[in-house]
Each structure stands twice: as structure tokens, then as C-alpha cells.
């Protein structure tokens, strides 16, 4: 992903981010094509399960080409500058959430970390306060949905105490 933005009114030049999008679409199309081609199955009446994936893969390949042409001609919409730190913070929050849940840390601490990371991405500086708010919110959500509505949320040490 490139962060350079096309200034409106500038000379139209190939859009690298747009070319990358076209390349990703082409990869998806090839992956669908490959998966379908390696599918083993018995003959059926009419259309088998292979027809639709081939159509979708072909469509995606054509669209990858069309997007590539658009990007080459500079036909992608102009974009404003981007705050990369905010994106890293939110995605980091999610990575931590997935890690905590996978390692059995439970729903509440995972939620608290996501809450604090997102708040920081939106410009908050008081990480400790936000972590505390996240913990309280996590406990409240856990009590409401796990105990009251009997949804099963992943439990760690804190959840087992409740």
C-alpha cells in the first residue's frame, strides 16, 4: 500500500496503489481457477460445482485487467493524505486481541486492549484510563451477554472469577 496521494489536477500518471489492487484481484482470480481445476468430482447432470467458480474467476480476471487499465491511465479517484499511525494502532489492537484470545487470556483483557488501542488511534493520550474503561466495559459486556443471554464468550482467568 502506498501513501503517496495524487493531487487533483496534476498530470495523470500511473497509480501504483491502483496497480497493486489490480494485481491482488488477478491473484484471487488465479487462486479460484487453480482450486477449481484441482477439484475431483463425479459427473453430474447440468452444471456441476465447477461452473460458477470458473465464471467468477473469469470475471475477476477481466476486472483485474479493467482496474489495471484505469490505474495505468490515472483513472482512480484522488486520495487525501493518511495517518498511518492510527491504522497501525487499530490493527495492533486487533492483533493483540487475537493473541490474547488464542492464548486463553479471555474476552475481558482482549476487549480492554482493543478499546485502549482504538481510543489511542483516535487521539487519546491517557492509555491507563482507557485501559480501565475498556476493562469495565469488558466486564459489563461479559456479564450481560455471557451470563444473561448465554452467549459463550472465551473465558480466561478473570472470566472464571465472575
Amino acid at each position: 500500500m502506498s501513501t503517496d496521494d495524487d493531487k487533483a489536477g496534476a498530470v495523470r500518471r500511473p497509480d501504483r496503489a491502483g496497480m497493486a489492487i489490480a494485481a491482488v484481484l488477478l491473484v484471487i482470480a488465479l487462486a479460484i481457477f487453480w482450486d477449481t481445476a484441482t477439484l475431483q468430482l463425479a459427473p453430474t447432470y447440468g452444471l456441476g460445482p465447477k461452473a460458477m467458480p470458473y465464471v467468477v474467476a473469469a470475471g475477476l480476471a477481466v476486472l483485474a485487467f479493467a482496474n489495471g487499465v484505469l490505474a495505468w491511465r490515472g483513472g482512480f479517484p484522488p486520495r487525501e493524505s493518511l495517518d498511518g499511525r492510527a491504522i497501525v494502532l487499530i490493527l495492533g489492537g486487533f492483533a493483540a486481541l487475537i493473541g490474547i484470545i488464542a492464548l486463553g487470556g479471555g474476552f475481558i483483557p482482549a476487549t480492554a486492549v482493543l478499546f485502549a488501542a482504538t481510543a489511542a488511534a483516535f487521539g487519546r493520550r491517557a492509555v491507563h484510563i482507557d485501559l480501565a474503561i475498556g476493562l469495565v466495559l469488558g466486564v459489563a459486556v461479559f456479564l450481560l451477554f455471557d451470563k444473561l443471554l448465554t452467549l459463550s464468550l472465551p473465558a480466561g482467568p478473570i472470566e472464571r472469577l465472575l
Partner: protein, 499 residues
């Protein structure tokens, strides 16, 4: 007058205390999420799907419909008071509405939006009552090939015909269709596109896609643009009440907006943007106060708001009678029907009239509730806008993620959620429409099943698609709708060169 009998019967269902409660919860939630930026009715329905799984189908569908209508009311409040429309259909409202608020006429702007939404919602729901049985009587004779052709029309209109760029719309649609292929094929039991990952055998969860695209994608997008400056919240000053003059200037725009919105919503033409733009430009041409346009003309709020609500109601016609969703929220409602094993269509009208007509009748009730909730209580909703942005978005992400954590707390599922979030962010940044991907995921497998059923009946002869006059006509329309934006663009370029 069969329709009226059915509606009266539906009213007895909708007026049951528990269903009234569901409608009330729906409109409250709907208004709240409509008012809050960064969260909309499609996301809310998606979040509620796993929670409502065990509830009574009629009740939760009534609640979903309440959320849909409520979201339309709430969205106008946000666009009038902070000029950041909660959803694209409210964009036009912001044009004049925010100017009115800045000029101290926020009260009448909110009032004409709410009353206009009520008028349009009620008239359009009446439209459903009379149009739906007729469409059902036509659709009863549809074979699988006709349904397939109809879905092709919906795919094209939702993605290509009315968007900014047919290429980007179709790209979004095809990604949705590809996601719909993942998992075990319903007809043969073959695993497709699972790449050996057991989590993928069940297919891509609608909730995971919607939460990723709408909640995480939106949060990433807003956070990445925060440094560009925030919009100010306009306090509501002065009287809420409309003067006699305001009423006079609002009445015909409401009616005209409804006349634009309902047919376009009902046609499977997709999206509420077109009728709101049409209504705005019409009012601008017809007004006796052209000098006020651009500086806060009440007609420019009344008309588009009515058009917006009428088209939302209109999209319920193809959804209920044909199982055809033409907006992201309608697609989520279809997923709601599917989770109870219900398939909207003529059969549902015959088998579960209590449910269908109860739902339609509850729309009238929801509309009435919304008028009350939005006029006197508007101050309460405005206070929601005062939640500091960091906590608002952090809270949205926590609640949004919770649905997926509760349903499937696996690393694969959560990683998919984040991947869809990144995709949603990139789609917003590069201006790809989001609705087609959701429609593709939900409607794609249905369309494939219909096509394969049609070809099984015809013993594999593809000409069956052209032999049914209905299917041939619909496929022709789909082709025309696909070609239209390219041809028209070509004409436009030709004209531009001439100048």
C-alpha cells in the same frame, strides 16, 4: 380488497405486546445507530443476527425492519447537525439541512425531515400493501431460470448501473460472489475454495463480512483521516416547530419525494441515492425561493428525506416478494430470514401470511413510533453525538467484534474479520462501493442454486434460459443495464470533446 384483509390480520400479529416491544427496541436501536456516525442499520442487523438466532422469527424480523426504518430517521439528524451524513442516502439532506442548522433553523429542518419521513414511510408502506400481492401473483409462475435472470438484473443494477464507476462496482460484486463460493457446495457436498482450512468449510459468515467491512473498515478510515479536521456539531437553536409557511413549502416536496423514492426502491434499481438526488434537483427547479437554495431551503430537506424513506420502504417489495435484496440492509435482512430457514418469496406469502403481513403491518407502527421518538425527543438523540469520538469508535469496535468472538472465537475467523476490515478501509479509500460485496455474498449462492436447478430440469440444456419469455426479457434488461453506463459515458465523453 384481499390486501386490506391480510393487512388487518397482520395488524393483530403486530399489535401483540411482545411484537410491539420488538418494534420499539428496533426503532430505538435504529435511530441510535442512524444518529451515531460510523455505524448504520446494516451493521446493526449483522450484529444482532447471532444474538437473535434463538428468538421468535416474526419478532426479530419486526425488530430488523424497525432498525431499517429507524436508521433512515436517525441519519437525517446527523447530516443536518454535523454535516457528516451517517449514510450516503442522507448526503443530499446535508446540503440544505446543515445550512439551515447554521442559520439557526435546525429545529424546522429536523421537523420537516421527521414528518417527511413519516409521510413518505406511511405512503410507501401502503404501496407495499398493494404492490406486494400483485408481484406475488406474478412471481408464483416463476421457474428457477426466471429467478436466476432476476438475480442477474439485481446484480447489475446494484453494482454497475447507478454507481460512480461500473468497474469498481462490478469488482466489489465479484469479490462478494467469490466469497459466496467458499465452503461446502450445497448440491454436491464438494468443498470449494477452502484451501484445506477446516474453518472455511462452513463458508464465510455474513456477520464476519459485514462487521469487518462496516465497523472495522469505517473505524480505520475515519481514524486515518482524523488529522484532516473534524466537523462541528451545530446546536439546535430556536423553535422545533415549523411555521405555516414551512408546512406549505414542505408538503409537495414530501409527496414528490415519495413518488421518486418508492418506485425506484421497489424496481430493484438499488440504492436510495438516485431518488434523493432526483428529488433535490426537482425541488431546486420548482421552488419559488431559488435564492435560498444553497443557503438552507426547507424544500431541499423535505423532498430528499421523503425520497430516502420511501425508497427504503420500496426495497422491501422485491425483498419480501422475490427474495431480492437491493441494498446492504435489505441483504442483511435476507440473511435474517435465511437463519430461520425462511425464504422470502411467493411461497412465504402462502405459507406464513401471519409473519409476512405481521411484518408489513408493524412497519406502520414503527413509523408512528419513530415520529414520536424523533420530534419531541430529538434533543436526547443529539446528545448521543456528544460522545467523544475515541470512546465512540472504541466502543463500536468492541461490540462489533463481540458478535464474532461469541459465534466463532477461532484465530482464522478473527483474522478474516480483520482482513475484511482492511478490505473495507481500502474500498472506502479507493471509492469502491460496499453494498455489492454484501449482496454478492448473500445472493450469489442463491443465484447459483437456481441456475443449477434450472439446468437440471432441462437436462443441461442452457437454452432454457432463453426459452422462458420472462427469463429472456430479464436477461436482456440485465445486459442493457450493464451496457448503459459504458454507452452513456461514451456519449458524455463525445459531448465533452465537442465543447
Amino acid at each position: 380488497m384481499e390486501a386490506l384483509d391480510a393487512l388487518l390480520h397482520g395488524l393483530t400479529v403486530a399489535l401483540q405486546p411482545l411484537n410491539l416491544l420488538y418494534a420499539l427496541i428496533g426503532v430505538l436501536l435504529g435511530t441510535a445507530v442512524g444518529v451515531l456516525p460510523g455505524i448504520g442499520p446494516a451493521l446493526t442487523v449483522a450484529l444482532l443476527l447471532p444474538i437473535t438466532f434463538k428468538l421468535d422469527p416474526a419478532g426479530s424480523l419486526i425488530m430488523f425492519a424497525g432498525i431499517y426504518y429507524g436508521g433512515m430517521y436517525g441519519g437525517s439528524t446527523t447530516s443536518i447537525l454535523i454535516n457528516t451524513p451517517g449514510e450516503s442516502a442522507s448526503m443530499v439532506t446535508a446540503l440544505e439541512g446543515n445550512k439551515m442548522a447554521k442559520a439557526g433553523r435546525g429545529g424546522p429542518a429536523l421537523a420537516t425531515a421527521a414528518i417527511g419521513s413519516f409521510v413518505a414511510g406511511t405512503l410507501a408502506t401502503l404501496g407495499i400493501v398493494f404492490l406486494a400481492p400483485w408481484l406475488v401473483s406474478v412471481a408464483v409462475n416463476f421457474g428457477p431460470e426466471d429467478y436466476f435472470a432476476l438475480m442477474c438484473v439485481a446484480f447489475v443494477t446494484v453494482s454497475a448501473t447507478f454507481g460512480d464507476s461500473p468497474v469498481r462496482g462490478l469488482t466489489s460484486l465479484f469479490i462478494g460472489l467469490a466469497l459466496g463460493l467458499v465452503g461446502i457446495d450445497r448440491l454436491t457436498g464438494q468443498a470449494r475454495l477452502a484451501f484445506g482450512v477446516p474453518d472455511l468449510l462452513d463458508g464465510v459468515e455474513v456477520t464476519t463480512l459485514a462487521v469487518g467491512l462496516f465497523a472495522i473498515g469505517e473505524a480505520l478510515y475515519v481514524a486515518s483521516r482524523r488529522h484532516l479536521g473534524e466537523e462541528q456539531l451545530e446546536p439546535v437553536r430556536g423553535s422545533l416547530w415549523m411555521t405555516k409557511q414551512d408546512w406549505k413549502r414542505s408538503f409537495w416536496p414530501w409527496i414528490r419525494g415519495t413518488l421518486f423514492g418508492f418506485p425506484i426502491g421497489a424496481l430493484p434499481a438499488g440504492g436510495a441515492e438516485i431518488p434523493t438526488f432526483l428529488s433535490y434537483s426537482t425541488e431546486r427547479r420548482l421552488t419559488r425561493h431559488p435564492e435560498e437554495f444553497g443557503r438552507g431551503a426547507i424544500e431541499g430537506v423535505a423532498g430528499p428525506e421523503a425520497a430516502n424513506n420511501a425508497s427504503a420502504a420500496g426495497t422491501l417489495v422485491p425483498l419480501l416478494t422475490l427474495g431480492l435484496p437491493t441494498s446492504a440492509t435489505a441483504a442483511m435482512m435476507l440473511a435474517g430470514f435465511q437463519q430461520y430457514g425462511l425464504n422470502p418469496g411467493p411461497l412465504l406469502f402462502a405459507e406464513r401470511p401471519d409473519l409476512v403481513w405481521g411484518l408489513i403491518a408493524s412497519l406502520f407502527i414503527a413509523n408512528g413510533m419513530l415520529l414520536v421518538l424523533n420530534l419531541p425527543l430529538v434533543g436526547l438523540w443529539v446528545r448521543l453525538l456528544a460522545i467523544p469520538q475515541p470512546w465512540l469508535y472504541a466502543g463500536i469496535l468492541v461490540f462489533a467484534t463481540m458478535g464474532t468472538i461469541a459465534a466463532k472465537p477461532s484465530v482464522v475467523e478473527l483474522s478474516m474479520l480483520v482482513a475484511f476490515g482492511v478490505a473495507g478501509f481500502l474500498m472506502r479509500r479507493f471509492d469502491f462501493p460496499v453494498a455489492p460485496i454484501v449482496v454478492g455474498l448473500i445472493l450469489g449462492p442463491v443465484a447459483e442454486a437456481q441456475l443449477r436447478r434450472a439446468l437440471q430440469i432441462s437436462l443441461g440444456d442452457p437454452l432454457v434460459l432463453l426459452q422462458s419469455p420472462m427469463s429472456a426479457t430479464l436477461l436482456g434488461i440485465a445486459l442493457l443495464a450493464l451496457a448503459a453506463p459504458f454507452v452513456l459515458r461514451g456519449l458524455g465523453r463525445f459531448k465533452a470533446n465537442e465543447d
